[in-house]
């Protein structure tokens, strides 16, 4: 068996690729190369290279504190909100550098939307206002356009039928699962290219979770989705590719079926079978 040092060296040599298979190589949305991230002195991500395929669901799994949320946030520069963050390496979105000096992080975030662990509809706004707030605050005034986008986003988030008569009610009046779908609709309304999801179901009951998972499956026809989860079964159900992170390092990456049935690394197998984590 390779020593940890050898494994690290191997990983540095080339980015982990979505698997070579009989199918043609998938189109890539993100190409992360040698990404390392520090919070002050603490290194949260250690030299991770990862390519994320378009119109597919990529799940990032790993025990708490392994850096999966940090890596996810590096894909839309949300990690920069924490003071004293430092980053090395590059992240390309459709070939363009996300960290180029000339790019405003707000533009990056408009292209790469995000849904959070805890649903967070704005408490001062109605359901309808919550959905279009991203457009409004980015200067869209055309009411007809906003109404169209409102309905389309809510339909895509599978929430329209439940709330179409209550659009003027506060967003916080919805149930937990509905609030999370409202947040997904809000993210969809600005028409991003990618949706990042940071443990989107961890605060929901099984029925609400099933709805979100179904939604994720439907959304991947139009969007690239990257999700963080520490629920292994969920990663198995919803994702096409799975990346296993441990202590800030990428241990293994590949098609979900391979990772779950025939992992190369011992650590991956131990984690997936529940021996630690």
């Amino acid at each position: 068996m390779a020593t940890p040092e050898q494994r690290v060296t191997e990983r540095v040599e080339g980015p982990a690729q979505p698997p070579a298979s009989s199918e043609p190589a998938p189109k890539l949305t993100f190409e992360a190369k040698n990404v390392s991230i520090w919070y002050g002195e603490k290194r949260a991500i250690d030299d991770v290279s990862l390519n994320i395929a378009s119109n597919a669901v990529t799940a990032i799994i790993g025990p708490s504190g392994c850096g999966k949320s940090t890596f996810l946030r590096a894909l839309n520069r949300m990690h920069e909100l924490v003071p004293k963050t430092r980053m090395e390496g590059t992240v390309l979105l459709h070939g363009g550098d996300l960290y180029s000096k000339t790019i405003d992080p707000a533009i990056v975030r408009r292209r790469v939307g995000m849904v959070f662990q805890k649903s967070n509809p704005f408490p001062t706004m109605t359901i309808g206002e919550n959905v279009v707030v991203g457009l409004r605050l980015n200067g869209v005034r055309n009411q007809k356009f906003l109404n169209e986008r409102l309905e389309r986003s809510l339909r895509m988030a599978a929430l329209w039928d439940e709330v179409k008569d209550d659009l003027h009610k506060p967003g916080t009046s919805l149930s937990g699962g509905q609030q999370q779908r409202l947040c997904i609709a809000r993210a969809l309304a600005v028409e991003p290219e990618v949706i990042l999801m940071d443990e989107p179901c961890s605060a929901l009951d099984p029925i609400a979770t099933a709805k979100i998972e179904e939604l994720i499956y439907e959304l991947k026809a139009q969007y690239t989705i990257v999700t963080v989860t520490h629920n292994m079964q969920q990663a198995g159900r919803i994702s096409d590719y799975t990346a296993f992170l441990y202590l800030g390092r990428l241990i293994e990456f590949g098609p979900t079926t391979t990772i779950f049935t025939n992992p190369t690394e011992r650590q991956t197998e131990d984690y997936i079978t529940g021996r630690f984590g």
């Binding site: 939307g113 408490p123 001062t124 991203g134």
Partner: protein, 288 residues
């Protein structure tokens, strides 16, 4: 003596201690509330009879002539509050936003400490400062000087309350807005400040109620006026100042008017506090 009886004795002593402790806290609580009752009682007994339509609608009468009112002082107080608010509200709110949202931890802790020191400065000091800065330079007492003195007192009060309510807004809302590609300042204005708006307004109202009763900073700034003020660059009457002048005068009629003025002032402050209670009732629902 058996073990059991020993335990019972002990139990009695504990019951007595318990009764003593609750009595002591109850008496303290009554002592805290009693002054409020006394103040209202005295004001009603001495002032209620002099609060009439004339009091709100007439100027003070010349010395020796009975009757007259404090209309000019009531309006003057409102003008001074408006001037003070024009200075204290924007500076206080924006400063509070800066402390909560921008700035480095070290600079912010210094600013916060300084604001707390400013809050502890006796209000007459502000009167002296403005006297030196404005009254001497422009060679005259004025409404502007009075408003500035009151506004300076408001700034640290509003700054600290604004900062505290903004920090109460959960970070998830900021992140949600930023993740939609909304600019930082728009996130702060449209999401964070809107979520905290009830708390910010409460802080402003409490600061206005506090300076509404200030007398000392007006002594050598607004100075007082027995007539209508026709220009903000002239001395202006204010309710607390008028109460002060009348209370230390030797005339019984003026004393009665001072009581009436105090009753009106306290009632005003009381109404603002009730308004704040009404506003903050739904606050838990909107902030968290």
């Amino acid at each position: 003596m058996t073990k059991d009886s020993g335990r019972t004795d002990n139990h009695h002593w504990r019951k007595i201690k318990n009764a003593l402790a609750s009595t002591a806290t109850f008496v303290s609580a009554v002592l805290v509330i009693a002054p409020l009752g006394l103040v209202f009682f005295y004001l009603l007994v001495n002032g209620a009879s002099s609060v009439n339509w004339d009091f709100f609608s007439h100027l003070p009468k010349p010395v020796g002539e009975a009757g007259g009112g404090m209309a000019n002082a009531i309006v003057g107080s409102l003008e001074l509050l408006a001037l003070a608010g024009a200075i204290g509200i924007p500076v206080g709110v924006l400063g509070g936003v800066y402390l909560a949202e921008y700035g480095s931890a070290r600079i912010n802790s210094v600013l916060r400490f300084l604001a707390d020191v400013l809050n502890g400065i006796p209000s007459i000091t502000w009167g002296v400062v403005v006297y030196g800065l404005v009254v001497l330079r422009f060679k005259g007492f004025s409404a502007y000087a009075g408003g500035l003195a009151l506004g300076l007192i408001m700034i640290p009060l509003i700054l600290r309350t604004t900062e505290e309510v903004i920090l109460l807004v959960p970070n998830g809302y900021r992140e949600a807005a930023l993740a939609l590609g909304v600019a930082r300042w728009k996130t702060i204005v449209h999401i964070v400040m809107k979520t905290a708006s009830k708390g910010i307004i409460t802080g402003i109202l409490l600061a206005l109620a506090r300076i509404g009763g200030e007398t000392a900073p007006l002594l050598f700034t607004a100075f007082g006026n027995r007539f209508w003020n026709h220009s903000l660059s002239q001395p202006i009457a204010a309710l607390p100042l008028q109460i002060f002048t009348y209370a230390i005068s030797p005339y019984d009629d003026w004393h009665r008017q001072a009581w009436a003025g105090a009753l009106v002032l306290v009632t005003g402050v009381f109404c603002v506090n009730v308004l704040v209670r009404i506003l903050t009732r739904g606050r838990a629902a909107s902030v968290v």
